[in-house]
């Protein structure tokens, strides 16, 4: 479903050039959930941004659903296939648009006509009561906002969801609800996930395979059983697992 080969992403040129991602390669199969872990600045979010065209300067090869991507322009078909959920639900929703407007706009852009019925369906899908339809973001809790953000991503019936730390701004009790929702949605809609997080237990819970990143490079790709049995090969991943298990 997703194929990344020798991906390089950099910002600025000349003296200030920063190589955020260096030679990253991995594959994500159809219906799989794949995790990217690493500390901040390791380039894990940058990979997602390069895919969606938010980081324009990249080289290498990115292929999604059989289509190779070029530059930073993405067409309608791309957004029908791939959608992204951002970290901070407080920042990613327009403060002066109601839930109905947010979802309605996404549906309109995806070219749907039966917007009214679809908005209701989306709310049901993400487990939000219909009374929330005409509320504004400030009237919702963090978990409810993240549900709206997920509903917006689902509007175009995508095949791939890019999840950028979807629960790190939430309380643990709310995190459990959102992770359960994502598990259900993947099953119901046959989605493929590419999930970024610094929280190893969360990745271990959600993903079948994961890549460990350090200063822009993928140091190791392993599956979740290896992670659970602490059979990481690279010293950095061992260290990362060590700190996560310690508490």
């Amino acid at each position: 479903m997703i194929k990344v080969e020798n991906l390089n992403v950099w910002f600025d040129d000349g003296y200030d050039r920063v190589d955020a991602v260096r030679g990253a390669s991995f594959n994500v199969n159809q219906g799989e959930s794949f995790g990217l872990v690493g500390e901040s600045g390791s380039g894990k979010s940058t990979i997602l941004r390069a895919m969606t065209g938010l980081a324009p300067t990249w080289s290498g090869r990115i292929e999604i659903d059989g289509l190779a991507l070029h530059g930073h322009k993405r067409n309608r078909d791309f957004y029908k296939t791939v959608q992204m959920v951002f970290q901070d639900p407080y920042a990613s929703l327009h403060p002066r648009h109601s839930v109905d407007q947010v979802l309605g706009e996404a549906l309109h852009l995806q070219g749907f006509r039966d917007i009214d019925t679809r908005v209701v369906k989306l709310l049901d899908d993400v487990g939000l009561d219909r009374k929330f339809r005409f509320r504004y973001p400030h009237q919702l809790s963090g978990g409810q906002r993240q549900r709206v953000a997920i509903a917006r991503a689902l509007a175009g019936e995508p095949k791939v969801l890019l999840l950028d730390e979807p629960t790190s701004a939430l309380d643990v009790s709310v995190q459990a609800e959102i992770l359960n929702l994502l598990t259900d949605l993947r099953e119901e809609h046959g989605l493929t996930y590419l999930m970024v997080s610094h929280d190893l237990p969360v990745i271990g819970h959600m993903c079948e395979r994961l890549a460990v990143m350090k200063s822009g490079e993928i140091v190791e790709v392993m599956d979740v059983t290896q992670l659970r049995q602490m059979q990481a090969k690279h010293p950095y991943s061992q260290e990362l697992i060590g700190v996560s298990v310690a508490h």
Binding site: G41, D171, L179, T183, H198, V202, H205, V224, V243
Partner: protein, 284 residues
């Protein structure tokens, strides 16, 4: 020995619908120990920390039988006296260094300002002391850091600088409000180790406010668990996993674990009677 004793603390915010009680009758005392306060957002844990330093802004109201720092009731002190308590006796480290450091002032000048405000000495002495404190929080090249501006620092560095600044007046109590939640796991550990060392070395009391149960159970001596403005449970940190209250158990179970794979995470089922539960903090 009791450093701080809080009895029946209430924090109230009047609003259009009446009065909202953010903290409802919290009592606890703090010795030379590491006390953790955990709870979800909105449980009143940060408000408790701020109320101790009387940092709640109007129209918020702070009421308590007493908030006693070594026998002296902070609630009756005039504002001038209170300013001497803040920083010198009780210091506070906030969550995000990005918002607590002055962005247009060199880091050295900020730390020296903190020192000069509380001590009558020369600038050279303040400078020497600042360098020493930066070294104490494991900053390798303090000379360069002194010259730098906050935006040139990473989150972990920024938080260490905040800790250095807070410790300069040698306070008796340090209140740390989510000091590591903006940091990576690997850096988190370093910052905690530094705090731990300093607290032990100087015999300070530490109030550690966090939403991270595991972190608190590992790092503190005693833990207060807050829900809806009340303390629902007090326990020894190493016995947190045997906690009795259904809320604490619910929180612990909702965490994903590497050693126990499962398809769904148990979701916390809130019950109304937790809100009116007897205040378990009396004996704290």
């Amino acid at each position: 020995m009791t450093l701080l004793d809080v009895q029946n603390l209430w924090v109230k915010f009047p609003n259009r619908q009446g009065v909202f009680d953010a903290v409802r009758g919290v009592s606890f005392s703090l010795g030379r120990e590491r006390l953790g306060i955990v709870g979800e957002s909105g449980s009143g844990k940060s408000m408790t920390g701020r109320a101790i330093l009387r940092l709640i802004r109007k129209p918020g109201i702070v009421q308590a039988d007493h908030i006693a720092l070594e026998g002296r009731n902070l609630l009756n002190l005039p504002e001038v006296e209170m300013r001497k308590v803040r920083g010198q006796q009780i210091s506070m480290v906030m969550q995000d260094p990005k918002f607590s450091l002055n962005p247009v002032m060199r880091i050295g000048d900020q730390i020296m300002e903190a020192y000069l405000l509380h001590n009558r000495t020369s600038k050279a002495q303040a400078r020497a002391k600042s360098l020493e404190m930066l070294r104490a929080v494991s900053i390798n090249d303090p000379e360069r850091v002194m010259r730098a501006y906050p935006h040139e620092m990473s989150g972990g560095m920024g938080q260490r600088i905040m800790i250095a600044m807070m410790l300069i007046p040698d306070p008796k109590i340090l209140i740390a409000d989510e000091p590591t939640s903006a940091l990576d796991v690997s850096v988190q550990r370093q910052v905690l180790d530094i705090m731990d060392g300093l607290v032990k070395e100087r015999g300070m009391g530490l109030i550690f406010i966090s939403h991270d149960l595991n972190l608190v159970s590992e790092f503190c001596d005693r833990v207060l668990i807050m829900y809806a403005g009340q303390i629902v449970e007090v326990c020894d940190a190493d016995k947190l996993h045997d906690a009795q209250h259904p809320y604490t158990q619910g929180l612990l179970q909702s965490l994903p674990r590497l050693d126990q794979p499962r398809k769904y995470l148990p979701v916390l089922q809130r019950e109304d009677d937790w809100q009116k539960a007897p205040i378990a903090g009396d004996q704290a």
